[in-house]
Symmetry: D2
Subunit: 296 residues, 4 copies
């Protein structure tokens, strides 16, 4: 008999993840703060709960993917939170990108009920969520990780066990520090070159012929060059992740001079109203500063 | 009859470049500030000049690759500089990474003698210089670029015509802004992860499984993980290039908040005595700040 | 009959503040996490409570000054917290420098008990606390502020009503952003000058003859020049306040490029073990980077 | 018989300085690149030269105050430059804020003619120039400084001998690093406070009641609060001075993380067209980023 699953958070990523679990034959009970988003899941065969607690009641696995630390605080410890019902022996798998400190606190709380906790943030686009091809970075007990694998394999194709509680998030935040900066400095460099009179395509040829070539900027460049900032990953979320990374850096006494500068650039772009666009829209902020365009 | 070549600057890159020209059958006259380095070229069949002017006298192409703007100022306009002898119709090909403003000034000066000027910085390691596989980014007249191709093809395998005078350098500086930042932020991210307790190899698995994977950091990572900073490209030169890029940014009114922060990190690493190491040694400065090591 | 006071937190500032209240004739009940520090107050005539709740029970004013947001969370809403006993009509006066967001949340919570809340951070040294000459920046209801004045006047000589809840803290954080940066850039400038060979005393003469003269740097300079970093305000607390300011900036969409850079410099100094020294010890971090000393 | 003076550069500061010398009875010969500006001096009794060389011919003191390093390069070593005529025993007093490296080079060149060189930058407003109340920071030989005092005393009321060649400029650049950052961070802090809802006047009361009070920000604040950016010192010149300071920092291996960030903020403000305004107009750039105004 397949494990039962409570699934909390049906956003851009959560919905296809939950659908894949239903399609794989797991009995799934979903909860979402705005109930409209549950329709598709209900149609596919999921039960719909009216609180996280109801979704978690009796479930073998409680999966969550919500927007930020306060939202997750509500899901875990608020009224109707999963702490009220999570059963002993269950595994909570949280794919939200939240504060590692908060995540470790949640791990302690569910441990008080006899349950396990995995911080299990993911990378990959909505498209990869649909195909079940996400990459998982997982922190927590190895035993719980192993037990969760049949479920994780439905949603992702790569699962990296990072170590103890919080290290999945640590990996995710370090990765996003690197990705956000790669995109930002690519844009700074292209703006500098464009202001000098260099065509973006020629600058791109230079980069692609060099060791600076990266899958990320190869992917983003055409969007940047034609000014298409349909969000793959919204700028405001990248800014949030940089902020979480800086909080971790503060807690661990790690100076991060470059990440600090990059965070302010994304913050300025967000303050200009670009938060809902893809984070590559940071280029438009730099273009406005420099009064030049990096365009075909 | 093959074109005659004056070649000025027999450093790490210059020596193999000049040797390739000799081996390809060009008559080459070399000059180097410290004469000892001319021995290998002499043995291979090159003539040795005692001034840049002597190397340039009568040459169809005058190639230079020296350390910085003041050194190139001497080569061009100092006593015994190439301006004294460069012939009308010659093409000066300067592969030094110097100030674009200075380079354009040199272009004007040689134009006064009827000669052409190309700013032609290169990327690639010493190893690629030996194999004649450098990448050239070239600014200047298209006609001079075309004329220089038989010579450039001996030293490089990719030649990108960037546009008017200075745009080869603009491309090179933008590229190095991007490369230096990619390495620096890779190190910041890995230091943050290491301080959290994540093993570098696991963090590397995360990056390599993501879009942040890049040839540059794939290449640098093993050196970083074992603390081997044998210089492929010395940190002090990367700091110099960042400084040149910031000077260009100043001249062109381009704000570069991230590059400015990165420049200070490399500058601090240089001030700690790491200037002669590979620029990936920036990791050791970050490690010292954070009191942690990113090591196997 | 004088108002009764519960006083929580007997640190460097809290102890003299509480003593002044006792000396002014208020009946005071004190609580401190480490009970040893209550001896002096007990001797002076204060009662000693074993929990914040006990200190707050029946008090007209509940004054608190603790180290950070989590500590204040415990004081307010932890087991034995003031929420358990604060009486309707009481005024809670919190002089801790904590997150404005958390402070507003505490204001809501005590309002649920019919009590008022003032965020009332102070500036001034321990010496000024002893003399009752602190400066208060106060946020909250005007009526509660007016009611609290007889108590505030015992501890401070200047009381600035800043507006609604959180604005006292907003003022304090903005002030510390300015002060921390003034000291940091003073040190950067003096390190630059010293490396050029300029004597600190001459540079000081330049600054004091200019509009850059400030009470803060006039005060800090002699300590800096003789390397005396006895803590007036510990570097780790300044780093904490910068971090709180950046969190506010994040919450309010305010880009702060300079404060972000300054925060990392203090963070790096703290990571080098200078957290317990006065924040002017940031100069020693800059000196170590530049390999020069700003000394008499 | 009074010493004869050649005076080069009749800008905002140069004109009143030269007038004071004429009024004090010195025979003065002036030169300015745009000849129109010489009218007032001619009327006052000065001779007008058509080249710097002509102004310097036979003069005991050759005073210069021009906009930047390239302009000074022309004045000294260009065609019709002072090197052509400066007499043995003369003292060149350069009050331009230029590169210390270039200044030392000029000192060497005039020494070749038997003349002395002082780098003698000034601080103070146009108003103070008119009243002869500038502050001088002077580098060079003590003997030449002493000899120049009768002339310097006409133009300034405070004269700080800083040491060898270049140290006057080193002091000036360090001072402007400090001043520019004080104003910038004052604005960042006030923008943060304003976005939180704090009135600028209340925030000003906080600052003025604290050790952060400074003559500079006391002076700038009313202009900032009413949006009056009539240039006392144009933003583009402050940006130039920050750039010179960073060049010195590079040459001397001094990491300056905060100054680097501040330079980019002024650079961004300049790129938005604010270069001709007073440098306090940096507040408008920060206001535009944060979408709030710091106004009465």
């Amino acid at each position: 008999m397949p494990s039962s699953i409570g699934f909390i958070g049906l956003g851009i990523m959560g919905q296809p993840m939950a659908l894949n679990l239903v399609h794989a034959g797991f009995p799934v009970t979903v909860f979402n703060r705005t109930p409209e988003k549950t329709a598709l899941l209900k149609e596919a065969g999921a039960k719909v709960a009216s609180t996280p607690a109801e979704a978690a009641a009796g479930a073998d696995f409680v999966i969550s993917i919500v927007s930020d630390t306060p939202a997750m605080e509500e899901v875990v410890a608020g009224k109707g939170g999963i702490l009220e019902t999570i059963k002993s022996g269950a595994v909570a798998i949280d794919s939200s990108t939240i504060s590692p400190v908060a995540s470790r606190k949640f791990a302690c709380k569910v441990a008080g009920q006899g349950a396990s906790w995995l911080d299990a943030p993911v990378t990959g686009s909505k498209h990869m969520a649909i195909k079940g091809e996400l990459t998982y970075m997982v922190g927590g007990d190895r035993e719980a990780f192993d037990r969760a694998m049949p479920v994780l394999q439905v949603m992702g194709k790569k699962h990296i066990y990072c170590g103890t509680h919080g290290l999945g998030l640590a990996a995710k935040l370090a990765q996003n520090v690197i990705q956000s900066t790669m995109v930002e400095i690519f844009c700074e460099g292209f703006v500098l070159a464009a202001k000098a009179g260099l065509k973006p395509q020629i600058m791109m040829e230079v980069i692609q012929g060099s060791m600076a070539r990266a899958a990320l900027t190869d992917f983003k460049a055409p969007f940047i060059f034609r000014g298409d900032f349909t969000p793959y990953f919204p700028l405001k979320l990248m800014h949030k992740d940089l902020t979480l990374a800086m909080e971790s850096a503060y807690a661990q006494n790690v100076p991060m001079p470059t990440a600090a500068a990059v965070k302010e650039v994304y913050g300025a772009a967000k303050a200009q109203g670009k938060g809902e666009l893809d984070y590559a829209a940071v280029v438009t902020f730099l273009e406005e500063l420099a009064k030049v365009q990096v365009r075909e």
